[in-house]
């Protein structure tokens, strides 16, 4: 591996200076599509490329350049995205079971959602005393253990989060009310004696019925990229909205 370095000229990645507008447009479209979390439409791509270059020409050229590669430029539902070549799917597929553990921040956030649900992001942050990293909630939503359940009737109408039936299944709980209380946690040695008085642990409830201070989620909430949770929202949550 060490000799690898020697074989790659250092200036390889320097900014090319002699690019014409079309070549630069190709680079920009490539990078935009690569970076995007979802397919992009013509207008979005066209907005960033040099004036006078037709974005369709650029896309067409790129389609040809990538056609024989392991990654291809495709149009899906009228928008553009890179996808790995279909014929490679069998090779790539057997990645299968990935053994994962939540990070500490994720675990803490999950535990707060479990105990304090329904709870907003701001409330989680207040309990943890630190800002929640953008990805933390996303990962929890991805596990399928956490779902957005409504919106709190306070300024800003923040989304409230709660746990899902999958959460109960994974952790072998019958209901969230079975989560141990303060005394049991102490008994299990998870709190040591130094806990100041006045620390209370709420009695958690994941009742899918919205609370008096909660509004249902709007249909847009379930599609919005912020939540990224369409897949994970269990059926009950869906019915929650219909009550309105």
């Amino acid at each position: 591996m060490a000799d690898m370095k020697a074989r790659i000229p250092l200036d390889l990645f320097e900014v090319p200076t002699d690019l014409d507008a079309f070549a630069q447009a190709k680079r920009i479209v490539e990078a935009m599509l690569f970076q995007a979390a979802e397919p992009l439409d013509d207008a979005r791509l066209a907005s960033k490329i040099p004036e006078g270059v037709d974005v369709i020409d650029v896309l067409e050229q790129l389609i040809h350049e990538y056609a024989a590669r392991g990654v291809q430029l495709r149009r899906i539902a009228g928008r553009w995205t890179f996808r790995t070549a279909d014929d490679l799917a069998p090779l790539l597929r057997d990645e299968t079971l990935e053994r994962k553990k939540l990070s500490r921040a994720q675990l803490e956030t999950l535990s707060i959602i479990a105990y304090h649900q329904p709870v907003t992001r701001a409330e989680i942050e207040e309990i943890r005393g630190v800002a929640t990293a953008r990805g933390t909630l996303d990962v929890l939503l991805e596990t399928g253990w956490v779902r957005p359940r409504g919106r709190r009737r306070t300024p800003g109408r923040p989304v409230t989060y709660g746990t899902t039936p999958d959460f109960l299944i994974h952790f072998g709980l019958d209901r969230v009310a079975d989560l141990p209380g303060l005394d049991e946690l102490k008994g299990a040695g998870l709190f040591d004696g130094r806990l100041p008085p006045g620390v209370a642990i709420p009695m958690p409830s994941d009742d899918p019925t919205l609370g008096p201070d909660e509004d249902p989620l709007e249909p847009e909430d379930l599609l919005g990229p912020l939540l990224q949770a369409e897949d994970e929202v269990p059926p009950e949550a869906g019915t929650g909205e219909t009550k309105a």
Binding site: F34, A37, T84, L97, E98, I127, A131, F171
Partner: protein
């Protein structure tokens, strides 16, 4: 996170990362990050290469700075005052004829050691700027935005157990509950304070440094002198016992000298 600007805060974003749980750590004086920071700023005012700064001039300027700061605000962090004490000592060494004793480093050597420290800090800062100027992932350059697109074949198997969740909950609740405890301001120098300060000072002192009189004059409000003297002395004994520091006193009621322990040599410290 509380964003608190010091009154004459530096223009660069200087949001205070200290949590309310920090007892009395007064780190910044009008936006400075400790005594070395002040010295670097003063050194830059000399507008010469860091190699060529006049440490004597620097010492004078720093002592003036501390005097000024103390007029405005009594509560200077111990670090600033220790540095003042040390610079006052260095100043006298630079001004007076060199002593004949081989035991003590010359003023010039001490000045060079300080210059070297300033250079390291300066270089560390520049390195930090170079680091931050790099294209940063997620801000300037990006990895695949949608890696799952087709790779949904990999099914995550979550290994987390209920106990992990409970432990995380308990630990963060406890941490936060404890973090809420507010401590009253200390009126004494704790042994831990004294110890840390002495260690930082001996980092500066390549060789025998006289502590007591300068420390008392510069570092300490009058009502704390006894406490500081006692704590410093106890801590220095502790550090000497651990082999981190050496102590020397040439006779009863003579000044006490300290230095970082030298590489193992025969004889050891004559404490």
């Amino acid at each position: 996170m509380v964003v608190r600007r010091t009154p004459q805060g530096r223009p660069d974003d200087f949001f205070d990362e200290r949590s309310e749980s920090d007892p009395v750590l007064v780190v910044d004086v009008d936006g400075y990050e400790g005594p070395l920071d002040v010295l670097l700023v003063l050194a830059r005012q000399q507008k010469v290469d860091l190699n060529k700064i006049s440490i004597l001039a620097l010492a004078v300027q720093y002592l003036a700075f501390v005097e000024e700061a103390r007029k405005i605000r009594l509560e200077l962090a111990a670090d600033y005052l220790l540095m003042a004490a040390w610079l006052a000592y260095l100043k006298s060494r630079l001004l007076l004829p060199e002593p004949t004793s081989d035991e003590e480093p010359s003023g010039v050597e001490l000045a060079e050691a300080l210059t070297a420290r300033l250079q390291v800090l300066d270089a560390v800062r520049r390195a930090g700027q170079l680091l931050m100027a790099r294209p940063r992932t997620g801000l300037d350059v990006f990895h695949r935005g949608n890696p799952e697109g087709i790779a949904a074949t990999s099914t995550p198997v979550w290994l987390d157990t209920l106990n992990d969740v409970l432990a995380a909950y308990a630990s963060q609740r406890q941490r936060h509950a404890l973090a809420r405890v507010t401590l009253a301001k200390r009126q004494v120098w704790s042994l831990a304070d004294a110890r840390a300060a002495l260690q930082r000072l001996t980092g500066l002192a390549v060789d025998w440094t006289r502590l007591d009189s300068y420390l008392m004059t510069y570092a300490v409000p009058e009502d704390m002198r006894t406490s500081v003297m006692a704590s410093s002395f106890a801590s220095s004994l502790e550090l000497a016992r651990e082999g981190v520091m050496e102590l020397r006193q040439d006779g009863a009621f003579q000044p006490i000298w300290v230095r970082a322990r030298q590489a193992p040599a025969d004889g050891g410290g004559n404490g």
